[in-house]
């Protein structure tokens, strides 16, 4: 098997040229899916017999929470790839994706709080899932903070990669500990999203909005990565060509 693609993927130039025209279509396609899923879910999906209409927040909460976790998983993998193979694209990826992941975690938190008000009667309950997302948000903020504070770019890249890997190893332990802690204190009886046997009219729009949000995030991530590549490789001749060629 040839590893050429792996090495090419590691080359900012190749990555940039290859994915140059992808960001916008991905983003647009994702937006269409997301809007379709949301409109369907918020307006047309059947009402839940237990929770009434308030359950509909899952069409925002679930995609956001899933993306928050997926983004962190991808950061951890990128960090590992960077530490082991020193692939130049990995820190660019981490830089680009960490803030997106943080926004997703924040969206999940806010939507969870909005859902909590009619369900539990308060904006915040120390529910296992919400607490995990809160910790995830803090982990993201740590990565972003370390990247922004360390001025030496080599050090900042390594630090972000290390913390990402450490976070990835730690995330299951954190989740397990939070779940265990939650049973100890037995806070909520309802939990968001753990619903038995949803009818197809309910989960179909959910699936569509999840896919939509994945595509939107992929588009955003590509776009952010491309601008980081131009910034970091500004000394390379291909970048000058690229910028001048596009700009004039």
């Amino acid at each position: 098997m040839s590893w050429a693609w792996f090495h090419k993927l590691g080359s900012p130039r190749w990555f940039f040229l290859w994915t140059k025209s992808w960001a916008l279509p991905l983003f647009c396609l994702g937006m269409v899916c997301l809007l379709l899923g949301l409109v369907w879910g918020l307006a047309f999906a059947p009402t839940d017999y237990q929770q009434g209409n308030s359950y509909r927040i899952i069409y925002i909460h679930v995609p956001a929470a899933l993306l928050a976790q997926s983004c962190y998983l991808s950061l951890g993998i990128a960090g590992f790839v960077f530490l082991v193979w020193r692939m130049k694209m990995a820190p660019i990826f981490i830089n680009a994706v960490a803030p997106i992941g943080a926004v997703m975690a924040l969206m999940a938190l806010v939507s969870g709080a909005i859902w909590g008000k009619p369900t539990w009667g308060t904006w915040w309950v120390w529910d296992a899932r919400l607490t995990s997302v809160l910790v995830l948000f803090l982990l993201y903020m740590g990565i972003i903070a370390i990247q922004n504070t360390l001025e030496d770019i080599v050090l900042a890249d390594k630090a972000a990669a290390l913390i990402s890997v450490l976070g990835l190893i730690n995330l299951p332990i954190i989740k397990y500990s939070v779940e265990w802690w939650n049973t100890l204190h037995q806070a909520a009886t309802f939990t968001l999203t753990e619903k038995p046997a949803m009818p197809v009219e309910m989960w179909m729009p959910l699936l569509i909005s999840v896919i939509g949000l994945y595509l939107v995030v992929a588009g955003l991530a590509l776009w952010r990565m491309q601008s980081y590549i131009l910034e970091r490789e500004h000394r390379a001749s291909w970048v000058k060509q690229e910028v001048v060629g596009d700009g004039l």
Binding site: L83, V135, L138, L139, M141, G142, I143, A145, I146, T149, L150, D152, V154, L155, K158, A159, L162, I163, V165, L166, G167, I169, N170, I173, I174, Y176, S177, V178, W180, W181, L184
Partner: protein
């Protein structure tokens, strides 16, 4: 340099800098005093919360002590010398963590009887508290060392290091306070101690290598 001469010198440095260690211990006591004053001095509140209060104070005091563990070495060129020594950097780092752990944790242990009495910790769970400290605290030092090495080049790195490292301490705090609580309620707690031990062992495997990578990235 040999591993032993390094170990000895590290010990000597900490003995000469005993005020730093004393400061960490004083900080620990001060944080604990905040709770009866800030929340309630009643045994009804304090007794069930004692384990949690002690562990929160512990985590903060340990973080403060670890934050600067590489600072002086970085400034005086010792860190550079470790990197070029031809010895194994992960092992050197581990020795340093070991020295710091013993110098901080042994006095903490000695203070625990008094502090847990002040917080009305039920006597039966005192030894569980000691056990959680012994098996749980190594992971705090090991994980913290990574953050300390990453932020060593910053003039004001303490807040950043706290922000980055604190979330990683959550499982340790959860399991440690859970074990103390379980003991207070007469429930089995050995599984939780095993969990803490597992986290410490995992940190022992990962941290020296990761700290060494961080040290190398920081000296330049």
């Amino acid at each position: 340099m040999t591993y032993f001469s390094y170990f000895k010198a590290e010990f000597l440095v900490l003995l000469r800098r005993k005020q730093d260690v004393i400061n960490a211990l004083l900080f620990f006591i001060t944080v604990i005093v905040l709770f009866p004053l800030g929340v309630s001095p009643s045994p009804i509140f304090l007794a069930p919360a004692a384990g949690g209060i002690i562990w929160c104070a512990l985590v903060l005091a340990i973080l403060m002590a670890i934050e600067s563990m590489f600072k002086e070495d970085y400034n005086d060129g010792s860190l550079e010398q470790l990197v070029v020594s031809g010895l194994s950097l992960p092992l050197l780092v581990l020795l340093k963590i070991l020295v710091l752990w013993s110098v901080i944790v042994i006095p903490l242990l000695l203070m625990l009887p008094l502090l847990s009495a002040m917080l009305y910790l039920p006597e039966g769970s005192f030894w569980v508290l000691v056990a959680t400290l012994l098996v749980g605290s190594p992971s705090l030092f090991l994980i913290g060392a990574i953050g300390s090495a990453l932020t060593v080049s910053l003039k004001q790195g303490a807040m950043l290091m706290l922000l980055v490292i604190l979330p990683f301490y959550l499982p340790v705090v959860v399991f440690a306070t859970g074990a103390i609580k379980a003991a207070q309620e007469g429930l089995p707690y050995s599984g939780l101690l095993a969990m803490l031990l597992a986290i410490s062992l995992l940190s022992l495997v990962l941290s020296p290598v990761m700290t060494a990578i961080s040290v190398k990235a920081s000296v330049n």
